[in-house]
Subunit: 356 residues, 2 copies
């Protein structure tokens, strides 16, 4: 069927600003002004342009805009492990808040591997992201730090680095809360469990808080580094069967896991080897992922306000990008609280044999 002679062009290629300009009978700058909403365009021309835009179904070419402005509206987001519910939830929130501020999130999953972290950041930088949100940072590369510092603003959410803005919980306090809970329940032989792939500065702070609190109460803290679902782990620096930590008269009866995934994995380990939780072993996690609230898991854990972290993180980096925040890195701390469920109780009576 024939079209009207003066109808929209057959639209082989998308219309450019020039098409709109000639259609509206103005110059392309005027079209640009209308599109960007700058003040000082007569109501009359504005209408003409808008009508032309509509008729041609014109949409500005972001690529061209980005090239001339020398920056994108893309935010790079470095995620430790998307399969970890904590990161998945954070990623969701971050994307939502970024969108609300007019930015698009581009994720980059590092799997805790600092080589792919580096590669991912290179990619982000190559895409000319306006800023980078670290949801996890191994912090291994000094060269990267220098590169980043000169290129784009960075915000560390739920992790810590001294050369960028930080939005996080008080991890040390979280560690203390978890430890206090275990101690108050009567435990004296504790362990701190972490997963090497996810280890970062936050874990360290949680560990420190745990140790401080334990020492103040005369309790011991065994350090366990474990990659589930392996049978072996590094226990106080030595590779051993993980069961070793929970066996014998000096066995640990209370574990503070530096994140819920580790905690749930340990629970699973207990289920498999016949360690009852909490009868034989009390476990406290960190993060409060949705799964922790399931009746069958019922993990006592330290809750991070994920949504608030994401919102403040985005607020911070957007302010930094748009120049409203200048000067030294800013640290924003948000609250943590202990959520008591059923993975913790008093330790078994002395001499009691696990699984008995």
């Amino acid at each position: 069927m024939a079209r009207r002679a003066d109808g929209p062009p057959p639209a082989r290629r998308p219309p450019t600003i020039l098409d709109v300009a000639s259609r509206a009978g103005v110059s392309k700058s005027t079209v640009s002004n209308v599109i960007r909403g700058v003040v000082g365009v007569s109501e009359d021309t504005r209408r003409k342009v808008e009508s032309a835009v509509k008729q041609l179904r014109y949409r500005p070419n972001i690529l061209a805009r980005q090239l001339v402005q020398q920056r994108t509206n893309i935010l790079g987001v470095v995620v430790g492990d998307l399969a970890n519910p904590f990161f998945a939830e954070m990623a969701k929130s971050v994307e939502r808040y970024a969108a609300a501020r007019g930015y698009t999130a581009m994720f980059c999953n590092t799997e805790g591997d600092s080589a792919s972290e580096l590669a991912g950041i290179e990619l982000l930088l190559a895409q000319r992201v306006a800023g980078i949100v670290f949801l996890a940072f191994s912090g291994e590369s000094r060269a990267m730090r220098e590169t980043l510092q000169h290129h784009v603003p960075a915000v560390f959410v739920s992790c810590h680095e001294d050369w960028g803005d930080v939005v996080a919980v008080d991890d040390d306090l979280g560690g203390r809360l978890a430890t206090q809970h275990l101690i108050q329940a009567g435990h004296t032989r504790l362990a701190f469990l972490s997963i090497p792939e996810l280890w970062d500065s936050s874990d360290l702070a949680r560990y420190d808080g745990c140790v401080d609190e334990a020492q103040a109460a005369g309790a011991t803290v065994t350090r366990i580094s474990w990659s589930p679902p392996a049978d072996v782990a590094e226990i106080d620096g030595a590779a051993r069967d993980l069961r070793y930590a929970f066996d014998g008269p000096a066995r640990v009866t209370g574990v503070f896991a530096s994140n819920d995934v580790a905690a749930v994995d340990l629970m699973e380990f207990g289920d498999r080897v016949g360690l009852r939780v909490p009868a034989d072993l009390s476990i406290v996690g960190f993060d409060d992922v949705p799964m922790a609230g399931l009746a069958r898991i019922a993990l006592t854990t330290v809750a991070q306000p994920r949504d608030e972290l994401a919102r403040r993180g985005i607020d911070t980096i957007v302010e930094r990008i748009e120049g409203r925040l200048i000067g030294k890195p800013r640290t924003t701390l948000v609250g943590v609280k202990l959520v008591e469920r059923s993975s913790t109780s008093a330790p078994p009576a002395d001499g009691f044999r696990p699984g008995g």
Copy 2:
């Protein structure tokens, strides 16, 4: 007039191809040729250029390249819900395979809401993505379909649309497998459970498979649509307390949930209201998310080969983008299999009261 006609680079802003050219004493075309690895550059000049690149730490400006080439190397990925472990795992795999093919993934979380799905796709299109991978698609907008069809290739992974390439499992078969399992265990009053926010064409196929199989065996299928953790649900079209379905002489004893998240939520519901799984109620899920394998969950489910889906999905769209695959949409089906765990058993004896 050239911006920096000659002299050393002012070093404030990143070096351009012109800086490299003058440093190496060649033209910018030559630099471009070296960078893109085109054949027919003398070994000598190549070395000179490469050395200049290294000295200046030059890195091509992707934005400029994209502008002239009229396309990016960004792949848009539409995700139903990142907080759903199935999508999180898929997102991870998709990102990895995309990176392996030289593409960067840009995710867009829809929360099952077709308005934000539309908004997300607009954003993706505005970023001039080279293609879109749908990990979920509500498929509500006809206008969108037309827009997309003319703009970028699309591949539907683990979901179905007839106007783009599809890489998915045989959902109908999956539904049959789950249903057969329940029937063989002795169940005759079944239910199909889905979550309205996640409902899509895959769910429909799973439902059809379930109904077909049930009818062949003379079993009934109650249809339940539930938004956890609500107390009410839509049961065979009527809003009722969810417990209603599992109560009385005609109660359902076996549920096929169209995804594991729904299955686990139902399990949780059962735990809260005193319905024992599998004694009172057998549950089969779909997806086989990592959580399903936990001893405390032990969900019998239909496993999707996530990694294979992701790999083939990326393969397909990359071939489409790069012009090696042309013509009508292609459908690739990959296998499913039932994973038996402990959420299913024979139904309770007739007259047996749930929770008794």
